[in-house]
Symmetry: C3
Subunit: 118 residues, 3 copies
């Protein structure tokens, strides 16, 4: 069975199937904020979606980070590295890519282990 969280007309924000939680590309609410604040906002949304699906960041398996300006790499990582569970960090890739709204500074997708039986 496939479970959806926060279904909208275009996508679900999280989809659980086969023991994995797939998190849709998360972006910041405050699109005028700088890279640090947008990163914090995105990671908080991921925390919240993982919690809704019954899991947490220590169960992350893989993360993709998209930055419209790759020069934001270090400032993003400062926030990211402090957030990640150091004993259980996911595989990660980070590349430059422009996003739907030119004000957005970061988008992150993630895959995590779902709770047993989900």
């Amino acid at each position: 069975m496939i479970k959806h969280y926060q279904i909208g007309p275009r996508m679900a924000q999280a989809v659980v199937y086969g023991g994995l939680v797939h998190i849709a590309g998360q972006v910041a609410d405050n699109r005028k904020a700088g890279i640090a604040e947008q990163t914090r906002d995105v990671l908080a949304k991921i925390d919240s979606l993982l919690a809704e699906a019954g899991t947490d960041k220590s169960k992350l398996v893989a993360v993709n980070v998209f930055l419209p300006q790759i020069g934001d790499f270090d400032a993003m990582n400062e926030v990211y590295d402090a957030w990640i569970d150091p004993k259980s960090p996911p595989a990660r890739a980070c590349v430059e890519a422009r996003l739907a709204d030119p004000d957005l500074r970061i988008e992150i997708t993630a895959i995590a282990a779902a709770p047993p039986g989900a």
Copy 2:
């Protein structure tokens, strides 16, 4: 056991393993077409690969959309939103990225639930 569909010298167009169907990046056949027609073509190819693997778009778990021109976002979504199963939409991310052929306007990858026993 890993099952491959439409094996070519470089990739399989779909690979089934562990209950999931992984669809390779799909692009349009008519590369001179506009974004709406290329999007329809790509989604039809995904429908066809999902059918070959015994599943369908209502079982999609995650989708990644790559647009060489992010300005095509709204025109792509008009086709995409009409295609997606509104009760069972996948997690999605959409970013700008140039593709192998400069005429291509869209490439989409997808993950779906495989049929039981696949």
Copy 3:
């Protein structure tokens, strides 16, 4: 249980969960090398991570290739096509994306089947 390989402060280079090995974005050590050598280096790292996790390239399920210069597509494919298991090629997508270090010419992520019981 989630198994991590080569844990660093930011990511694990490979994470095994639910029968799948997720390989983090691999980049070349010699960043001054050309696209062919960087591709060979990246694929050797993937071979090595897959071996560490008890699997190999014939068990690849999906691969994503990121090229900062899409003009490197053919030169990358020459190395890639010779490397891939022709009887068991993964689903693949390849898009243009600038990477964290401007000297890098390629980054690859991959998902493979884990050995039974992993």
